[in-house]
Assembly symmetry: C2
Homo-oligomer: 321 residues x 2
């Protein structure tokens, strides 16, 4: 089952592979509750039987092998009479049922939520043996000044990631001038990080146990933030150094993620420095530029049987509720 909106073309890339492999797929946008999508679940005699219907297709919740949380809409957002109350009821009903089933998640909503905390990401990366640039998160101007003395070449970036304006705006990472005034740090947590003099950006896409890395060379003293750089260098496939692979596998285990898009900065010594792991990072542009079969690998992961379900179990098209 894929939880996403109709307009999600990246999901389409994966659905093609699932269709080729004759794996039954149901696509459900929680926003379609209670119009194009419906649900029913009964608890009796110590067991649960749930049914979901979407796009005219009816599936058994217990028969789901896997759930891919892509870009689900707000529950019941397209209902005839949407309201905050209906959204809450529909969200609880749908996810409450799905949370109780045995399907594998890419990614589980709890793991996805936790994975967004950047201070936590840095700590997990450290624990997993991935090199993390010296970083300070502080509201003490004095601590910021002392850090800047020890690390004169710094970048500043948001703690959280995306500015919650409408539409959301990504805040670029930028360099801190040597004579910066840190007194405003007292008014909001500030994340300062030693700048890695990078010769390449690395995007490592992890799908279950499969790691697919791509590399894009940087111009010397070029832009800090690859998202805001116009560069002619292409993304090219690259081997993952074994210690990094080991660290990434450990990170995914600790974070309970089955999908993660890791960003590293490669320095002049070839060291990959952990910058962040985006649990919902896009992969379409990497697949297109590198030819790496990311969508096929995702489809294979999703198609594996559910834990404890034999060849006869799983699949869609169950009986009516």
């Amino acid at each position: 089952m894929i939880l996403t909106s109709e307009a999600d073309v990246t999901a389409d890339m994966v659905v093609v592979h699932l269709n080729d492999a004759a794996v039954p797929v149901v696509r459900l946008d929680p926003a379609d509750l209670t119009g194009g999508a419906a649900l029913s679940g009964e608890y009796a005699h110590g067991s649960f039987h749930g049914r979901l219907s979407s796009g005219g297709r009816l599936v058994s919740v217990n028969g789901l092998r896997s759930i891919w949380t892509r870009r689900p809409g707000t529950a019941a957002a397209r209902a005839a009479a949407p309201s905050a109350w209906l959204a809450e009821e529909a969200e609880q009903a749908l996810y409450g049922m799905l949370r109780g089933c045995d399907a594998r998640w890419m990614n589980h909503p709890d793991a996805a939520r936790r994975a967004r905390y950047k201070p936590w990401q840095l700590r997990v990366a450290q624990r997993c043996g991935l090199p993390v640039p010296a970083t300070l998160i502080t509201t003490f101007p004095q601590a910021a000044r002392a850090f800047a003395v020890r690390h004169p070449d710094l970048v500043v970036k948001p703690v959280s990631g995306t500015h919650p304006q409408d539409p959301p705006r990504a805040v670029p990472t930028s360099r801190v001038p040597p004579d910066a005034d840190f007194s405003a740090v007292a008014f909001g947590p500030t994340l300062l990080q030693r700048r890695i003099a990078k010769r390449a950006d690395i995007r490592l896409t992890a799908v279950g146990d499969r790691l697919l890395a791509a590399r894009k060379t940087s111009e010397p003293d070029g832009e800090v933030d690859v998202r805001f750089t116009a560069s002619d260098a292409p993304w090219c496939p690259v081997e993952v150094p074994p210690p990094v692979a080991e660290g990434v596998h450990a990170y995914l285990r600790e974070a309970e993620l089955s999908y993660g898009a890791f960003d590293f900065a490669e320095d002049a010594d070839g060291m990959w420095w952990f910058l962040e792991c985006n649990q919902s990072g896009q992969f379409g542009f990497i697949e297109v530029e590198t030819g790496q079969p990311i969508s096929r690998v995702i489809a294979e992961w999703l198609a594996r049987p559910a834990p404890g379900v034999g060849a006869a179990g799983g699949g869609a098209d169950a009986a009516a509720p």
Copy 2:
């Protein structure tokens, strides 16, 4: 450390016991960031050192034994210039740091969030062997009608719990008349449950491994929802039947909760039927009526050393950042 607002008198009950036992306590309201509360954390050489200051007290994040999430305010809500952006940055900085430390949580934010999904609660209770009244959650009118035929004596309650109006309003559980028209079920998920003809309400407060249960006798055919009933019957301590204790311990393990307020309905045969588990349920009124030492038991749980920390470790009053 207690994450709560200044006005939380229930937390005060626990603080008294912690003070009596000379256990250092720091109380922090995330709303006080970045005024009365401040934070600083540095990641370097594979390790993390964090400091929090609140009410003039400075503590080491690594030295925290336990974190009690009571009634924390929205991060930075009382800042000089509050904004959605500042709230997000402060929330991520504070909880991101705390999520990376080794302290025990009552309750961990992820477990707390998951614990609110009632469909999931019912499934966990079933798996743990607690009796759950036959329940249907559905958007199919036909499924509701069929369920009502099999179970003519029904109650209806919200899937989510609290109506998100301002101020939030608890929606009472109510009986469904035999001739109910279920066509409106198509417009929003509806939770129907076989009514338990109860002779008592049970509130079981679980704190770690300690279970403290209280019982309040019902009038025959009285109100369904004890929260909306004016009753003269007092809450009295009651022994927990061993099978229920076993089920509750299993529930807490699966839900990763260290605190839970369980509501049961006791039927004429003495069977305790699981209704719900509120991970942030109040306990002050039960302690006052029954004399059960809930706040002391919570204080004892919070005061236990952190995992892996010896007698010399833990505690507050660390060095300046």
